[in-house]
Amino acid sequence: MRSLWFRILIILVIIGAVPAYLATAVLVRSYRDRAVSVREMSVKNQCVMLCDLLSSERYLEKIDSVAVNSQLALLSKIYNGRIFIVDSDFRVIKDTYDLDTGKTSVSKDVVNCFTTGKGSSTYDGRNAYIILTFPIEDSETREVTGVMLAAVSTNEVEQNAQLLETRGRIVIILVTVLVVVLGFLLSRFLVRPFHRVTKAIEDVTDGYEDEAVSVPDYIETVQITTAFNQMLTRVRSVDNSRQDFVSNVSHELKTPLTSMKVLADSINAMEDVPVELYREFMQDITHEIDRENRIIADLTSMVHLDRKAAKLDIERTEIGGLLEVIIKRLRPIAQKRDIQLILDNPEEVYAEVDGGKLSLAFSNLIENAVKYNVDHGWVRTALTADTKFFYVTVTDCGLGIPLDQQEHIFERFYRGDKSHSTTIEGTGLGLAIARSAISLHRGAIRVASKENEGTTFQVRIPLTVEV
């Protein structure tokens, strides 16, 4: 019942059959009205003329006027009607059916005509007759001296109307049948492209078909297939990136293990190894374990951030304080290479944010700025705010990022120039984590950098997060 073709069928039937039904009803009705009024008018005209003749012939005084009698008989015959002539004593002096002559008429129509001096006409559709009354006026005094009452049968009109009705009904039935049949075929035909869309999508789902779906019959089907194809592309790229990710992860996880194995093997292969050498090798192995741990920690936090429905622990937080804690933690590492950490926050900025996730992002940025810096360099972290957003800018005077790498640095596992990656440790997850945390807050991150001069990361985050 909810099928489109069924609805199209119903709509076609309604717009096909209902007008036919209405048209018939209106036609029959207007025929009936028209025919009755035509009949009424023509009888009226004849009767008015006859009334004049009656008064000029003084028919009410002696009823043997041949002219009037023959006219009356004719009129009665033509219109299948009955005419009464009632004199001022309400006595029926002429009845064309010759049944009630001499009787006294107390009919309401007659009484009304005498009292008002005006004719009337009454149509009774159910019993199929029209009653018309006409005052017969004295040609000189204009006094009502009698009444002519004409009863005209409208049986004929009724019969014709019924005939029309029957024919109309047949037409309605034919139209309905035709519309149902045509509507059935047409609606089936109209929805066929949609079935084709379904079929094509099913083929893709079942794996028979790898190509993009194409059903160009309607704009609508084109829209559906285009949307579907976009989704398909997206799903495929997601799938690809997942594969990349898995291979990257396994590679990254394997690297420290390989180093550990090499270290362990080489120390096993040696004989009479001094304790100092053991200790040194063990220290290297511990270092590799730390590295492995860090990679796993990074991966875990990234998976947490990446999940679609990652929940934000929104709290009112003072951002300056948050940055201060991060810088305090990084200061020992910076001091080793004599890098100066500057925090520039002229005012307190309160925002409703998930402090834990944001500090992850900011610490990654500042950590990078330290890591990819030159000895004796500096890192400036600035905090500003307007009515809607607050801004955190991390600037360094370090190595900088070549332009062609800038678009890739936020990708997972991407690491810059091969030269640093060997000297500077890292997994390439830091910026990916930062970006995830920032976009969860509906914020934005931008990078500006020049090689060997320095890098600036600018972060913009709304003061309140609308969920």
Partner: protein, 333 residues
Amino acid sequence: MFNKHCRKLNRHKAGRRPSASLCQKHGSICRKTASLLILSLVLLLVGCDNQGKTDAANGSVIFCLDEDGESLEKEPLSLTATTTIVQIDEILDTFQNQVPTDPHQKLLPDSLSVISRSLEDQLLSINFSKEYLQMSTPREVLVRCGIVRTLVQLDGVQKVSFFVDGEPLTDSRDRKIGFMTAETFIENSGREINNYRSATISLFYASEDGNRLRRESRLIYYPSSQPFEWAIVERIINGPKVQGNYPSVPANTQIISASTSEGICYINLGAQFASEMPGVNPRVSIYSIVNTLIEDLGVDSVQISIAGENDVLYCGAIPLNQPFTADMSLVEN
């Protein structure tokens, strides 16, 4: 009393047009009732009065005017009196003090009063005060119709005539109105237009000398509820329209029944038919009916009976025990 009762029954029959067999049954009921009544005069009186009372109780009506004063409306009437004359007085009283239900109006004008009334042989005469003449014609006609129709419902009243200040009521041309019955008035003129049939028929009437039949063709209309045979015989009784033709049967003849079965038309006429028609040959009377019916209906023969009896001699000469076939030799050409 017995006669009156029988006549009453006949009137019922005429009104209801029963079939021949039904009528014979009625005849026997009439006779049975009569013998019963003769056996006990007291019982008869009680019975008659009871009948009158139940009639009055069951659906008797009194007329009043509608809200526009242009037509008559019915209202229920209940009578406490048991004899006709007291019932009449009661009705006339009710008319003068009528309080119809809203929005109907009282039938009589307040000023009008009844001076006297007399009932003689079921003919009622009512004498009104002078104010009667002050009514407008439409009002007067409605008043007349309302009073007559109310009074003739009583068993003991057949016809009513009006007097004003002792003088018989006349119309605007000084013609006497005379006795009136319910049939004197027609209410729904023309409203039954679709319930009539028409036919062009030949009718046979008497010639001037009363020895021959003369043909007269006419277009007639009759109610579709009325048998065609009845309508034809009625036209014969009502007499000719063409000059030179003369009535062939008594004008007051009643038709009791008229029907056709298996090619024979059965006509049952009232006793008035048997009375002598001066100057008309009895054969002409019989054959005016027979020839007319055979020619118009296409039946083979006609069986005439008088008051249900056909074992009689019509005018002492013509036996009615056999169906008649047409005799066209009587017709003038």
